[in-house]
């Protein structure tokens, strides 16, 4: 990628200062264990991790398992063997990771997991407010159509956050009998957005008439992207899309004229990365933070966005609470960052 024009001097300086400082928390190596590179979301998330670690004067090693859980477990082993100072986990399953995480904890390596489902004592688990995000978007959907809608659900099982969203979804349908699910599908594949697009096109052919489908609820923005493209290219202006999660690419799609994508709820992926690093440093610093951290989601309504294009970086100017999370900071950490 090319250099952008607006590299902030401040940031790079901060990194340099910390790196050269003599602070006892400086120079730590953080291992980031990814299950899968999920497109833009992952890229921004990793950027957040790297940015925060750099500010603390540390460095990041990224282990990507390309979706392969066995490799993810091996990567975890490798990180432990290499003596990482802290381990961050992004997704994965309890069954595959618990063993490795226990080993890490035994060896005194701090572990912070994000949406990984691991349940080992001493490990900080981050989760997005999944149920809340589901509720927020579903409520908006219901409000937009006065509680009467035929919806398509795009969702997949097998991921802890997905299942938490599913719980909220089922509860919501029970409470709102006017909302009917006409179809449900979804799969996390090597190429989720494109595959979803093909499936959504099929669904649209199946329900060709206006009103057959009022809206699509996508439990993940990769699903939403595929659905939005399918709807746009079929020229179906009658269908709206509600989703969870938000990346830059999503924002561009939402801001497009006449976009069917009207709302989303999300935690800033960059923020997730930053917060995860902060908790890791708390652990390194010997503090004892709470073990279950729920990240505060933000609701984004397309109507609130301005005319000019915004990015996740500038989004905070229009959406309250975005990209400005202070979660996980302690005085020690601020001091470290301020060096």
């Amino acid at each position: 990628q090319p250099k952008g024009e607006t590299v902030t001097e401040e940031e790079t300086d901060a990194g340099d200062n910390a790196a050269t400082s003599e602070h006892e928390l400086a120079g730590k190596n953080v291992a980031l264990i990814l299950q899968q590179n999920l497109g833009t979301f992952s890229a921004q998330y990793i950027a957040g991790v790297e940015e925060q670690a750099e500010k603390f004067g540390g460095s990041v090693t990224v282990f990507n398992a390309e979706g392969d859980l066995a490799k993810m477990a091996s990567n975890l082993d490798a990180a432990i063997n290499q003596g990482a100072d802290a381990i961050l986990i992004d997704h994965g399953t309890k069954e595959a990771l618990n063993q490795g995480v226990e080993k890490a904890v035994e060896q005194g390596i701090p572990v912070v997991a994000f949406d990984a489902g691991v349940d080992v004592e001493g490990v900080v688990s981050l989760e997005q407010g999944d149920q809340l995000m589901a509720e927020l978007t579903l409520q908006k959907l219901s409000d937009d159509f006065n509680g009467e809608a035929n919806i398509v659900k795009i969702w997949t099982a097998g991921y802890a956050p997905m299942e938490r969203r599913q719980i909220a979804y089922e509860q919501f349908l029970k409470d709102n009998p006017g909302i009917k699910e006409v179809a449900a599908f979804g799969a996390a594949t090597q190429n989720t957005a494109l595959d979803t697009q093909a499936q959504m096109e099929a669904i649209l052919k199946q329900y060709p008439n206006e009103g057959d489908i009022t809206a699509v609820w996508a439990a993940w923005d990769e699903f939403a992207k595929g659905a939005v493209r399918a709807i746009e290219q079929a020229g179906r202006t009658d269908i709206k899309v509600y989703s969870i999660d938000m990346s830059d690419e999503d924002l561009q799609m939402i801001q497009k004229d006449g976009s069917p994508w009207v709302a989303s709820a999300a935690v800033d992926p960059t923020d997730i990365g930053r917060i995860q690093v902060r908790y890791a440093y708390q652990l390194i610093n010997g503090e004892e933070p709470e073990e279950r951290v729920v990240l505060e989601p933000v609701f984004i309504d397309a109507a609130e966005l301005p005319e000019e294009t915004v990015t996740t970086e500038t989004l905070s100017e229009y959406v309250e609470g975005w990209g400005a999370s202070d979660q996980g900071y302690t005085d020690d950490l601020r001091e470290l960052e301020g060096q």
Partner: protein
């Protein structure tokens, strides 16, 4: 004459089987297409309409370009498995040229083609100079190019106004002129359909009606004989892989224009469809060899089949089975025919 008569008399069974294979080989693909169209038309009125066919044609245009490239390599008795990755690379490069570097349209259309040329050159280097078998060489390149395209974008897809990892926002946008290539209409047909038709015809003319085409087929049919006739076999193979690379990168450009962004891994899922199209096309009108019209035809059969099955609400995850089965059937017909033909000579 006598011998022939005697032969067919003494083996009536065999002969009947042979005839069936011959017939299937010659008209099987066409019968299949007509049957599929009739079947789906009977199920849905919307199917047999100008609009739907234009849609189907548009939907197969990218695969067809990819498959044309594969056709050229098969003509010279090679095989290019790297086309999917090359297309992915071309997709992100095309988008990046506009979004990251704000380049003029002509460069945006030209540079990706050079990437295709480069991949073709590396492929043919591995094959003709290092003597790695075609399939293995292009399989490796498939992975390398896939890795390159991901490294190039650092794992991001490329879209208008994307923020850059180094901070700031990308300066450019996909221009409307560019998007017209993938989404516009021209004299009543979508632009991608025009591009596909022109390319199929060009490939057909080159392969079937020019000296070059003859040299390509000659090289594929019997490299030794071609060499003895004064053909520089390595050069011809190199050319075929370059053509394949260029077609793949054209497919990538078209994909970017169609989708309006530079998606990661856009080409990978299209590889099998392209290969299947070529093999289904082998049999069109009994050509018995890779040919441009057949490839188009094969892509159409698969496109219509998938379109129809989608309407039939077949679960998406079963599509791979259908595609694989179509490919196996096409291969089986091709190779059973080849076996028969060989036995006869």
């Amino acid at each position: 004459m006598q011998a022939v008569e005697k032969k067919s008399l003494s083996r009536p069974k065999n002969s009947a089987k042979e005839n069936t294979v011959q017939f299937l080989f010659k008209y099987g693909a066409i019968i299949l297409l007509v049957a599929i169209i009739l079947y789906f038309s009977s199920l849905s009125e919307a199917f047999f309409s100008y609009g739907n066919f234009a849609d189907i044609l548009r939907s197969i245009s990218i695969v067809t370009l990819l498959a044309l490239g594969v056709t050229f390599t098969l003509v010279v008795d090679g095989f290019d498995l790297s086309v999917g990755s090359t297309m992915s690379l071309s997709t992100v490069v095309t988008a990046s040229l506009m979004v990251w570097y704000d380049m003029p349209l002509w460069l945006v259309l030209l540079l990706p083609l050079l990437i295709g040329v480069a991949v073709g050159l590396v492929n043919s280097f591995l094959i003709t100079v290092i003597s790695i078998p075609d399939l293995l060489a292009t399989l490796s390149m498939m992975y390398i190019v896939a890795g390159l395209h991901r490294t190039y974008t650092e794992g991001y897809s490329i879209y208008n106004n994307m923020p850059l990892t180094s901070g700031g926002v990308a300066p450019g946008q996909l221009s409307d002129a560019f998007l017209w290539i993938g989404q516009g209409q021209f004299i009543g047909l979508p632009v991608p359909v025009w591009i596909m038709v022109v390319m199929v015809l060009a490939a057909y003319l080159i392969l079937d009606h020019t000296r070059w085409g003859r040299i390509l087929y000659m090289t594929g049919g019997n490299a030794e004989a071609a060499k003895l006739s004064g053909v520089n076999v390595k050069k011809v193979k190199t050319l075929a892989y370059i053509i394949s690379g260029v077609f793949a990168s054209m497919a990538g450009v078209l994909f970017t224009a169609r989708v309006g962004s530079g998606q990661i891994d856009a080409g990978a899922p299209l590889l099998m469809e392209a290969v299947a199209a070529v093999f289904v096309g082998y049999s069109v009108l009994g050509a018995g060899k890779p040919n441009a019209l057949g490839t188009f035809f094969g892509a159409a059969v698969i496109g219509i089949l998938l379109n129809g099955l989608t309407i039939q609400n077949l679960p998406y995850y079963a599509f791979d089975i259908i595609k694989g089965a179509v490919l196996v059937t096409a291969l089986a017909v091709t190779y059973v025919y080849a076996k028969n033909k060989f036995a006869k000579s």
